[in-house]
Symmetry: C2
Subunit: 120 residues, 2 copies
């Protein structure tokens, strides 16, 4: 009900084992689920393929099971898909962002009322 | 009640005007409030003085009033302090982090149960 646009949150989760999971890795998992391959996902995100592989390697090490796996089945070409763990991690991240956004709306309104209005 | 340490959140607030406020700026404001000068605050954070000035300049532009101001009063040396707006912004950020942490505890437990246990 305010006349300014909403502020938003960018959230990174710091795991107890030292692993980190934030917007970049979430976007990559989401893109892999949609595109069906790591290469296509990287392309869709304007991310280099080596960078995508590095992030996946990190994620696969941070969790007990790999988050991204080969999607065998079709014989034409080997794509990639999210494992059950990958789906669960992405869903949990989305839940964290949704809950955090919901619970902080009033505070963000208060903070937004303090911002300058002369910027693009 | 789990046997793993807690996961934690790192939160950045994206203002509607394009400004961003996250852990680094919050730490700087807190250090200025404690140390009473920008230089001492930067030193306490192992941050370069130019970097601290740049962050303050950004913050002062992102909000309607400056967040950091000269603490005149004592004649000995010019220190710095948080303005009322600076105190309000830092308090709002801390509130956002506290609320987000509280509201996502159960999800973070769920996510933590998926992490690998073989890392430092």
């Amino acid at each position: 009900m305010s006349d300014h646009e909403e502020a938003s949150l960018s959230i990174r989760i710091n795991l107890a084992n030292g692993g980190r999971f934030g917007p970049g890795k979430a976007a990559l998992l989401r893109a892999i689920a949609e595109a069906g391959s790591i290469r296509a996902a990287a392309q869709a995100l304007s991310m280099s393929y080596p960078r995508a592989l590095k992030l996946i390697e990190e994620m696969n090490a941070d969790f007990a099971d790999p988050l991204v796996q080969s999607s065998v089945g079709g014989s034409e070409r080997g794509g990639s898909a999210l494992s059950d763990t990958g789906k669960a991690v992405l869903a949990a991240y989305d839940d964290v962002c949704a809950e955090a956004g919901n619970s902080t709306g009033v505070i963000l309104e208060r903070l937004s009322s303090l911002q300058s209005l002369d910027q693009g």
